[in-house]
Subunit: 136 residues, 2 copies
Amino acid sequence: MPYTLHPTLDKDTHQVTDYPLCEIRLMDNKLFPWLVLIPKREGASEWIDLDRAEQHQLSDEIAICSHIFQALVTPDKLNIAALGNQVAQLHVHLIGRYKADRAWPNPVWGSAREYYSEQERARFVYDLKSALDSAM
Amino acid sequence: MPYTLHPTLDKDTHQVTDYPLCEIRLMDNKLFPWLVLIPKREGASEWIDLDRAEQHQLSDEIAICSHIFQALVTPDKLNIAALGNQVAQLHVHLIGRYKADRAWPNPVWGSAREYYSEQERARFVYDLKSALDSAM
């Protein structure tokens, strides 16, 4: 079945790049460096809706994104989560957290949001895409 | 280095069983069926502090626990998360969520907590351990 991105994810995030399993997108919230990895598997909502090889690929893509976040934005901690209570389509959040950020030490969901300016977003997406494309 | 469980995790959770990579424990909150998987690797706080084979093993152990939660407690959705803002020791939450639970559709952290009675806990730990030990 062809893969379709959920309209809420489409609205909240901007495309960065395409990995073998996941579409990798940037959450439009400049308060937190925040990627969303969406496996391109129609109908998947749980980790275990992927087969085992895909689960390992998802882990590999999370790992690459984690290394790139550590290099580019040097967070104090990474948060990784597949929740899906609001949008069932399987998606994994990777969020760089700082002891001085607006939500610390709490999770970011339900916390504040500020949109990137178009220029800020274009620049961050460019840096992320360059690093992600070199790493794959 | 020998692995030591962080005292906060030790206090908040009860041992269920031991898997090849992770210690698997039950969060003492009867409002949400909630396992915590702690990789037995001293000093690990990020997913990428594990080597690639261990990351895949962690994915496999998350998958087994997910299948067992689906069989035993039939949640509407599973939440999987490695946050670690409060306790840096790498640990993965696996939480069975229901559309009628106390936090839905929000994440569970910071939501209500009710402890199991000793009898309830012993029974749930027994059921979980039986299922997890058969699956490994």
